[in-house]
Symmetry: C2
């Protein structure tokens, strides 16, 4: 039943550098993946801190999902988001970390506290 | 005299992740920086293998220069190009290497031969 609501995701083989860069060139989308990266758990779409409307945010989540950066699934009525980090690291070693690090306003000496 | 012909370049402090990603999202511009990266010497604009007209190529060189990815200078009548690699690596550690590695059609086990 829930499978009907789960949107399509590209396989790892179909993830291209072009699509990944097109996704990451947008600052709102970089904010989404940075917040996901910094969160200890998967996040539902409504819980991100974003400077755009819900419908615009939905568009950005779709671009990220179709580029292969995030995976979406349902828990009840909430659409959850998780980073496809391991797959991205295999496809494009170092790229995700470099962008996320560069995207943070300050480079923290130590994370987690 | 030549100084009049040298186009403006942003200082390292003015190089932003946004501009760098906007530059690298274009496949022709990724090809330019990849060819520069793989060349043992600086290259003049006319010596790149690019699928676009000279005037379009000039546009792409300008975007790369204004984003801080390349430095241009003259030798005689030739406009030469060099990567600002050390500066980029300081500003955005790992980003340039990750994009260039991902951009190469095959991941070579060893470079240089």
């Amino acid at each position: 039943m829930d499978a009907d609501r789960i949107p399509p995701h590209p396989d790892l083989d179909a993830i291209t550098l072009q699509r990944v860069l097109e996704a990451l060139v947008d600052p709102v989308r970089r904010s989404i993946v940075t917040q996901l990266c910094d969160s200890p758990a998967d996040l539902k779409c409504g819980s991100f801190d974003l400077p755009v409307s819900n419908s615009t945010a939905t568009h950005h989540f779709r671009i990220l999902r179709e580029a292969g950066l995030i995976r979406q699934y349902y828990v009840g009525t909430s659409r959850m988001n998780t980073l496809r980090r391991d797959e991205l690291d295999r496809a494009f070693p170092g790229l995700f970390d470099a962008v996320i690090t560069a995207n943070r306003p300050t480079r923290m000496a130590g994370n987690g506290r």
